[in-house]
């Protein structure tokens, strides 16, 4: 006899198995990364984080160049993407005429699903020539006294090219989540402001955005995750030279593009391989740390106490 209680227990058991297997796969992956990076951690110690040199023949390995390249591409892409995707999300949800909203939403969802190699090819064919022939000459002429904007080798490839393309890859993610978060703001909360004589802009600024902040933050984290780990598009665009970028137009290297380019040779030498696996570990830690810091900032911004469930229907 299958009693109801028994069915309930069975269902709970099956769910627990699913959850536990996902968690254990994650833990096993972390364990493998730790295991393989162990030799490098032992040999190079904590200074691995700030040594600039990366010289496989001499077995001198330092992560700083790649950490710098990864953070540069990720944050520049986010700085461009966040305001743009806010604009797109707010427009789609609050201002766009109904019949267009559907079309735009579909376009954005398609964009979010395009394989990254296509973005990379587009970057090489369009963004790089545009930077080389238009943007870099312009900055070279007018802003060469600002170190951060200096153009050293007018080739188009580099941090900016990679950041622009990565921005286009994360834009649809953040924009569509911004839109969905705004859509889930309770109508009664917006009504409250409208009834007071608020304009639509007041409502967005003072009611919808504060409400949607949690969701929008989730979108930014997803965008960050995609940007920090983006590989193929970056390999094609960043120039792949192990130097620490000092300017927006400088070439560079990210952790993921280094691994994509060299890991197949690296496995031949255990300590070389171990150093690269340690880079992967660092990438994982960057994601975790950014997540935790972001969550804390957000809790402070919105007071951490807001409870949506107090808005019922009716």
């Amino acid at each position: 006899m299958f009693t109801l209680k028994y069915k309930d227990d069975l269902f709970r058991f099956i769910l627990s198995v699913f959850v536990l297997s996902v968690i254990s796969i994650f833990l096993i992956a972390v364990a493998i990364i730790l295991y393989y990076s162990y030799p490098a951690i032992m040999k190079y110690g904590i200074s691995f984080l700030w040594v600039k040199e990366w010289n496989p023949p001499k077995e001198i390995f330092g992560a700083l160049t790649f950490i710098a390249g990864t953070l540069a591409v990720t944050f520049i892409a986010l700085i461009f993407a966040i305001p743009l995707s806010f604009g797109i999300g707010i427009f789609l949800q609050e201002y766009c005429p109904h019949f267009l909203r559907g079309i735009f939403t579909v376009i954005i969802e398609i964009l979010a699903g395009i394989p990254s190699v296509i973005f990379g090819v587009w970057g090489v064919l369009v963004v790089v020539p545009w930077l080389r022939t238009t943007v870099e000459p312009f900055f070279d002429k007018h802003f060469s006294y600002i170190p951060f904007l200096r153009v050293s080798e007018n080739i188009g490839y580099g941090i900016l090219a990679a950041s622009i393309v990565v921005m286009f890859m994360i834009l649809p993610i953040i924009a569509s989540i911004t839109k969905d978060s705004l859509a889930s703001v309770p109508k009664i909360a917006k009504d409250g402001a409208l009834a007071m004589g608020a304009t639509q802009l007041d409502v967005i600024k003072d009611v919808s955005l504060p409400y949607a902040l949690n969701g929008i933050y989730g979108g930014i984290v997803l965008g960050f995750g995609r940007a920090v780990g983006e590989t193929i598009a970056v390999v094609l665009l960043i120039g792949n030279q192990a130097i620490i970028p000092k300017s927006l137009f400088s070439v560079g290297y990210t952790i993921s593009s280094l691994l994509a380019n060299t890991f197949t040779f690296a496995v031949i030498n255990p300590i070389y391989a171990s150093a690269e696996v340690e880079l992967a570990l660092i990438l994982l830690l960057i994601s975790l740390i950014v997540n935790i810091i972001g969550r804390n900032i957000l809790d402070r911004v919105i007071g951490g106490k807001f409870n949506r469930s107090q808005f019922g229907g009716g």
């Binding site: 009504d191 004589g197 807001f306």
Partner: protein
């Protein structure tokens, strides 16, 4: 047509005058030829079973139905003699003179202080001292000040339901509107909070014209100067509270008052 309002002779002090109002949700004809008027500094309750159109009617008075897709309205709502559905009327402007309190407390996701100051700020008032003074005053009016004076910067959503509703009242009166619309403001509150809010409403008629939707006869009896009864989108009866509750003219009103709905 049912005999609405008292008589034509005491039409002075009319602030809201509704004429031949019809309202449609798409093809659904909800409000059917409503005629009534509200007088300055009085409390009017609009009674009726759930679904009879009370909320929709209240929302026609500050044009909150404008956003409902596919809705249609005919007739006139005159406020101080001016038809608010006139093309020249700026809805944002209109709503600044009409406060609204909703069935569910809906404070903004901001601090207690900022909730009450919201109306003043969007109306362009910058004077800090004035805002602080006004916020305090309104929190006192709405009998909330003593409970929140030490935590004005705490999130409004951390308050209890009854406190949130009083905060919404403080927020609505902060800009000193002449009309206050309240849509079943006590529907989700405990008896003590309800009682506090009913007392508030009674004290408000000195300053405002208060129009309250309610389906609770006892509560309406405690606060009304005038009462109306809606049924299926029709205004069955509207009269002074005394006669409304003791000698209703229509059988359906009587049935409702004696709780047969």
């Amino acid at each position: 047509m049912p005999e609405n309002n008292t008589s034509e002779k005491d039409r002075d002090n009319v602030i809201v005058d509704v004429k031949n109002l019809n309202f449609y949700y798409g093809s659904y004809h909800l409000l059917k030829n409503i005629n009534l008027y509200f007088k300055k500094n009085s409390v009017c309750t609009l009674l009726g079973p759930s679904g009879c159109g009370k909320s929709t009617f209240l929302r026609t008075l500050n044009r909150m139905n404008d956003y409902t897709e596919g809705s249609k309205l005919t007739g006139e709502v005159l406020i101080n003699g001016k038809n608010i559905y006139d093309r020249s009327v700026d809805v944002v402007e209109l709503r600044r003179d009409i406060g609204m309190v909703f069935q569910n407390p809906n404070p903004f996701p901001k601090s207690i202080f900022d909730n009450v100051a919201f109306g003043l700020k969007i109306h362009g008032i910058k004077d800090k001292d004035f805002i602080v003074e006004r916020v305090e005053k309104c929190l006192k009016y709405s009998a909330l000040y003593d409970q929140v004076k030490d935590k004005l910067n705490k999130p409004a959503l951390s308050l209890s339901g009854g406190q949130q509703q009083r905060l919404c009242i403080a927020r609505a009166i902060a800009t000193n509107p002449s009309i206050l619309l309240m849509d079943e403001p006590t529907a989700y509150l405990d008896p003590i909070s309800t009682s506090v809010i009913l007392d508030l409403i009674n004290s408000f008629k000195k300053y405002y014209t208060v129009i309250v939707a309610s389906h609770n006869i006892q509560q309406a009896g405690r606060i009304s100067d005038y009462s109306g009864f809606f049924l299926d989108g029709e205004l069955i009866e509207f009269s002074e509270a005394g006669s409304f509750f003791t000698r209703p003219k229509d059988k359906r009103t009587e049935d409702f008052i004696t709780s047969r709905y």
